[in-house]
């Protein structure tokens, strides 16, 4: 079935606001007018009506379609946005396709058959695709020449021109698939995954090497401790713990009559630290609690005590002797206390007598003094004694002389004697005190000595008197203690040696444990492949690589399909493209143009197009902008007309085809369109006044023109139909 376009009703779509209808009742229909008057919106409406969202967005391969607004933003929101397209088959039966916006609403797509039966939404999609049997990609390469396709062909950098030709040839989908697959990044991703594992492996190998070196060093160290290679196993370590540590500790504690504290069992290398600490603690405890050690301490104490006593005795004894000697010298010099007391008594008596004598003399002197006083009184006869009344010549003088010469001297002598006696008495009393002091000191030292004896008896637990030679006794005792101590120290040393031996076994065990741990670490690392996390990682790597591989295979399959299709298309169309190109350009310098397609080896999924002259040289560098425009049109026309009879549409649409064409190009194009019109209905949209005139003047088929005279926000395009 082949359809032609009959009419188009548009409301609210792109540049349209109010509903307008265009009827395509002639073979040639021209949409004429300046830019921004709604011509492209009209052609886009046909595209959107047939293909909906496929014609919107980046997947179209057109940058302009990204963010493309379907609905007119100035339109009255109460109105619907829709496009209704009427297609007629060869028999003139009308099929209506109506698409509303938004497209996801129920009833957005309705297809109505000539008998009036309607299909909506999914059913309508199926019906529509079965009717038109054309993909969007084929539609825009064989039916609808979009202005953007020519524009991009003209403005692309040479290196990006392949993309533009892809769009003209309809291979953008393949490219999009590759882009969506991120195909050209796949080797990078694959390398990243591989590199990550290689890095892991390098780290692992470095670590293993370092640990192996550690292990070798530790093994060497073990050898120097007389530990054999066959001891580097857990069984051996456990056996060492049992026989070299626990058994020996048990024997030891029994031998010294102490209880062994519980030590945690050693079941694995990792238990060793705990085991070692417990054993060390126990050894420290045993060292401090050794019974001999207690005896040794006691004996040391006794030895010190006896030694001190010996010193004390010597001092005390010396003191007593010194004190006794001092006393003896004193007695020898001054007599003992009795002798001194006698002297004191004697002196007391002498002093008493002397005092009496002095008193007597003093009484006598007093009498004489009274007599002299009497005699010196008036009216007393100085020559008569007042006592006896005997007459004594010059008695007063006599008394005064006597007094002066005899009694005063006598008293003075007596007083001196008395003083001398008193001095003697004081001296004797002092000696007596001194004697008492000496006795006291002597007694005190003796008392101390006596106390010492008591203490000594208690210490030695035997009766020792002053008759015994304390120094010898103590000396012997100290010697005896020293011998005992030496024996005990020897015993303690021996026990400490035993404990040292056990401790040194711990060192051996530690060496073995470190080796076992190192071996375990190496085994863990070498058995990393068995590790669950690594297995999961490996599984993920395999899955990732499978995905990579699948993408590669999909890519290769698509690439193959793309290549086949491209080659097929080029083979089918190259001649017709060459014809159209030469006709449009009519350039005597370009007689032939060979169209080649190759796979872009740098970018899988992309094609590399070449247009060569008869000598095989690349033509592109010598083509003008007009020639380039002509080439784009030739490709489009070649695609549209090759096998045109088998296509579902009997019309082609050209939007702004003459963007860079020269006048002769345009004329040649119009002449070609006359040829095309023999096979297809032609719809051309152009703002090019020259082309408009050529279309109106040179197209020989019946034609109608829609003049897009103006456009406003409220009304949309102002279109006037002109029958020519």
């Amino acid at each position: 079935m082949m359809f032609t376009i009959s009419s188009l009703k548009v409301q609210g779509f792109r540049g349209y606001t109010d509903c307008q209808e265009l009827v395509f009742d002639k073979d040639a229909v021209f949409l004429l007018g300046d830019n921004h008057k709604g011509k492209s919106s009209t052609l886009n409406a046909i595209e959107w009506c047939l293909f909906g969202n496929e014609s919107v967005g980046g997947t179209t391969g057109l940058r302009e379609r990204i963010g493309w607004e379907v609905q007119n933003r100035n339109m009255d929101t109460s109105k619907e946005t829709f496009v209704e397209l009427t297609l007629k088959d060869e028999q003139g039966s009308a099929f209506k396709v109506s698409r509303k916006y938004p497209t996801n609403k129920k009833g957005a797509l309705i297809v109505t058959y000539p008998d009036g039966e309607s299909f909506a939404d999914n059913e309508a999609v199926i019906k529509l695709s079965s009717l038109i049997k054309l993909s969007y990609r084929d539609f825009v390469t064989t039916v609808y020449q979009r202005q953007e396709a020519i524009r991009s062909f003209l403005v692309q950098e040479p290196k990006d021109r392949n993309d533009a030709i892809d769009r003209l040839m309809g291979f953008s989908d393949y490219k999009n698939i590759f882009d969506n697959l991120d195909y050209n990044n796949i080797p990078k991703i694959e390398k990243q995954i591989s590199d990550a594992f290689i890095e892991l492996e390098n780290i692992l190998e470095t670590t293993l090497r370092s640990k192996k070196n550690d292990l070798d060093t530790k093994k060497e160290n073990a050898k120097s401790h007389n530990i054999n290679e066959n001891q580097f196993n857990l069984q051996s370590l456990k056996s060492m713990a049992e026989t070299k540590i626990l058994q020996l500790l048990n024997d030891f504690t029994q031998s010294v009559n102490l209880a062994l504290e519980e030590i945690p069992a050693l079941e694995a290398e990792d238990d060793f630290a705990k085991f070692k600490n417990a054993v060390k603690k126990e050894i420290t405890r045993l060292r401090s609690e050794l019974p001999d050690l207690k005896t040794q301490t006691e004996l040391y104490k006794l030895q010190t005590e006896l030694s001190n006593m010996k010193d004390s005795f010597t001092q005390l004894k010396q003191k007593v002797d010194d004190n006794q000697k001092s006393l003896n010298i004193f007695i020898k010099q001054n007599g003992d206390d009795k002798a001194i007391q006698e002297k004191i008594n004697e002196l007391d008596k002498l002093i008493k007598d002397k005092v009496e004598e002095i008193n007597r003399e003093n009484s006598k002197i007093a009498s004489i003094k009274y007599a002299i006083s009497y005699l010196k009184m008036d009216k007393v006869n100085k020559n008569i004694c007042p006592v006896c009344d005997n007459k004594t010549e010059d008695l007063l003088t006599h008394l005064e002389t006597k007094m002066k010469e005899q009694y005063n001297q006598a008293i003075e002598n007596l007083t001196q004697e008395l003083e001398s006696m008193k001095e003697g008495l004081r001296k004797q009393k002092s000696l007596l005190n001194e004697y008492s002091s000496l006795i006291k000191v002597l007694n005190e030292s003796k008392e101390k000595l006596s106390e010492f004896y008591k203490k000594l008896n208690e210490t030695l637990e035997r009766e020792i008197t002053e008759k015994d030679d304390v120094e010898i006794i103590l000396k012997n005792q100290i010697k005896e203690l020293e011998e005992k101590l030496q024996s005990i120290i020897k015993g303690i040393d021996s026990k400490q040696q035993t404990l040292n031996g056990i401790e040194s076994e711990l060192e051996s065990m530690e060496i073995v444990t470190e080796i076992l741990i190192k071996i375990k670490e190496i085994n863990d690392l070498t058995n990393l492949e068995q590790d669950r996390t690594f297995q999961e990682l490996k599984t993920k790597r395999i899955e990732a690589m499978k995905a990579v591989n699948n993408i590669k295979r999909i890519g290769l399959a698509i690439s193959e399909a793309s290549k086949r299709e491209a080659k097929d298309k080029v083979e089918r169309t190259s001649k017709i493209i060459e014809d159209y190109f030469c006709k449009i350009t009519d350039n005597p310098a370009i007689k032939t143009i060979k169209f080649e397609i190759n796979e872009d080896t740098k970018k899988i999924g992309s094609n590399d197009y070449k247009f060569r002259d008869e000598k095989g040289k690349d033509l592109i560098p010598i083509l003008s902008q007009g020639d380039m425009n002509a080439l784009a049109l030739a490709i489009y026309l070649g695609m549209a007309l090759e096998g045109a009879e088998d296509m579902p549409f009997s019309f082609i649409i050209m939007d702004d085809p003459s963007q860079s064409l020269g006048s002769h190009h345009k004329r040649n194009l119009v002449d070609i369109l006359n040829e095309v019109l023999n096979r297809k209905k032609v719809i051309v949209s152009t703002m090019d006044a020259e082309l408009q005139d050529l279309l109106k003047g040179r197209i020989t088929k019946m034609k109608s023109c829609y003049n897009f005279e103006d456009w406003s926000y409220t009304t949309g395009p102002i279109i006037k139909k002109e029958e020519l």
């Binding site: 995954i193 594992f197 290689i198 190998e205 070498t526 492949e529 690589m545």
Partner: protein, 176 residues
């Protein structure tokens, strides 16, 4: 693969750089024998490297590749050789070994392989894990078993030494 096996292989490679690939191939053939494959053919020059079968029911044809790098280069002749043997009823495999501690023999099902350079890990996605698990331990034993002899007793002729070992094991060796 075990670290010690890899270390041994590295040492063998250091001593016999040229012969290393063939040494691995012969050791792999010996591993298949030990794993219970009854008929094994090992080819020195032409054709696929190893054919191994059990009771004529399980039949593998194996192209052997070793590398110290990250990738394996499969040539057209490898693919053609495998395809030829596939027609004779053999399952085509590509046995690839990268000498690294995180790597094992990969027995990639070769039906869909193309002549190109494959990263070893991409090849791993084609791996036949049951065969890998079966063969790897025997291969490690073979390496360990012949390591000393290869380095010390083979008079610098490791291939001749292994050829004798293959003969002793009853492995047929085709030289041309």
């Amino acid at each position: 693969m075990k670290y010690e096996t890899i270390e041994m292989l590295k040492n063998v490679n250091n001593n016999y750089k040229i012969e290393f690939g063939k040494i691995c191939k012969k050791l792999l053939a010996l591993s298949f024998k030990r794993a219970g494959f009854d008929i094994i053919e090992e080819r020195e020059v032409q054709g696929v490297d190893i054919d191994a079968s059990i009771n004529d029911k399980i039949k593998y044809t194996i192209e052997v590749k070793t590398t110290m790098e990250q990738s394996i280069n499969i040539k057209d002749k490898d693919i053609e050789g495998l395809a030829k043997r596939q027609k004779d009823g053999y399952k085509p495999l590509l046995a690839a070994l990268r000498i690294g501690i995180l790597d094992d023999w990969i027995f990639a099902e070769a039906d869909y392989l193309r002549a190109e350079t494959y990263s070893i890990y991409l090849l791993d996605s084609y791996n036949f894990p049951e065969l890998q698990q079966l063969i790897t331990p025997y291969f490690e034993e073979e390496v360990k078993g012949h390591y000393y002899s290869l380095l010390n007793d083979s008079s610098n002729k490791p291939l001749e030494y292994l050829k004798k070992e293959l003969e002793k094991s009853g492995i047929k060796e085709e030289e041309s």
